[in-house]
Amino acid sequence: MRVKLHGVRGSRPTHKNSLLGYGGNSTSIQFLLPGKDFELYLDGGSGLAHHGLRLGSQTKNRKFYFLVTHTHWDHMIGYPFFAPLYNPNNEFVFYTSSPLEKDSFEKLFYGQLAKGHLPFPRDLVKAKIEIKLIKPGEKLVIDTDVHVSTYQLNHQGITLGFRVEYQGESAAVITDNAPIENGNHLGEHWKELAKDNSAQFEKDFNDGLVRFLHRCNTVIFDTHFTEENLKADWGHSTPHRATKFCSDAQVGRLILFHHAPEDTDQAVADKVTSVINIGKSAGLEVVAAREGDEWPAK
């Protein structure tokens, strides 16, 4: 299995000469599964739009699975331009959490196609679409031997981290996730849940995430901020936090991801430098996500 990075930016896509080395498109990741005749993606940021516009509506594979982390714009804006959606013979399955209070993925997915917001007619999207609701922690099996597990992250609403296992290899994506310390509990209803024992809640979350990532080959982790500019309640992490989780979990490779739109190529490179030795001492390889790159999950 390999992971392909179609979009690596957080918050919004951005285009400026100083950052095009790592790329300006927002979150889109593809899991390349040798021997399978379907496609597996995570999220639909602007990177997915470009991938889809190039693919066109006539594709070799007819079935598309999507793992949906959450519905913030940077993870959503690409869907309407994913041309395989325009083909009536294609089938889509979206796995998404079911928020308690906020709008569902279904409402927001179709909301993006709403009249007045796109220049093409809504019925251009002709593929068969199925939306499957999953609970945090739920495990899925796609096509008998692709195993997917989930973990709720410390981010607004109900945001899911995903881990994909195939042929004995594993890759996980943790986007977006803030440090949970000091009552920074961003998940839906977490404040109430944690009110009696905040410290235990935080410890359980952190231990749970380490277990979730245990011995994973390749982990793509939100490192939007640095320790210097961290705004914890904005819902994002830093290279140091990501490196700590991944070394505690004995991960093989950490890919720094969800670069802030303000981050220049130099700033992204500096993030890698800031943790590369900490990683090395724990046997962890640290690299930065670059648009278009492919990494093996081993």
Binding site: N17, L20, G24, W73, P119, G157, P261
Partner: protein, 276 residues
Amino acid sequence: MKLKFWGTRALISSPSKDTKVYGGNTGCLQIIYDDALILVGSGYGATNLGEELMDRIIREKKAFNIHIFISNFHWDHIQGLPFFQPIYFKSSHLHIYSPMAKSDLYEGLNVLFNESYSPFEALNKMPANVSLYQMQEELAVGGLKVRYVPLDRSETPSFGYRFDSPNGESVVVASANAGEENKALIQLSSEADLLVLGGLFTEAEYKANKAWGFASLERSLKLAMQAKAHKVLLSHHHPLRRDSDIVAIKEKLVASKDFGHLEFDFAQEQTIYEVL
């Protein structure tokens, strides 16, 4: 008067080393006249201006009045608004204009701030002071006279705007123009010094994508000839067009001689265009 494009792309941002010249952000254009800050569209391009303004808000304690004209609610024309940095500061005042009823304007923009799509709650809960205006026939903003016409799009109300300076310079911005002849737009664009029109499709692509309703490059240029505009800038580039593709299309259009002596070019992000 001058013009600066902060975003030139249609549909979806196109950040790439292959789009460095013509630009990769979705639509946002700045009209520069005296000290006024006037934008048409608030696509993601607005955030690159926003970064510069935020710097001045923090370092120079500057308070900004920013005037934004909305041409329609297509995502690529509005999606930068929740990320436009001045909106995070109490000292900023955003003035947003459209010929639509204020409640429709609010609804059309507020969806961007829906707290399932964004970490925000609502447009009117943002720190900046945001005022909406339903434009009447004519308006004075920052020393400029502003007028508008509908752009004849069937799926959503869309508008083109004309800005006239007291010393007789004029700019028309209508990059969402439709393919069918629009007499009102021709009239509004009459003798304009600079006319900004859409260039999403070539004529062949236009014929294959009629449901999208955008004019072809060729149709935009013909309209400019009818209006006797002095210079045309084609914007709203297709997200898959690389710089080299745009250059090739331009060379073909120039070679075709269909457009007589009309002066035209493709809009480039970050370039400042003098209105003469």
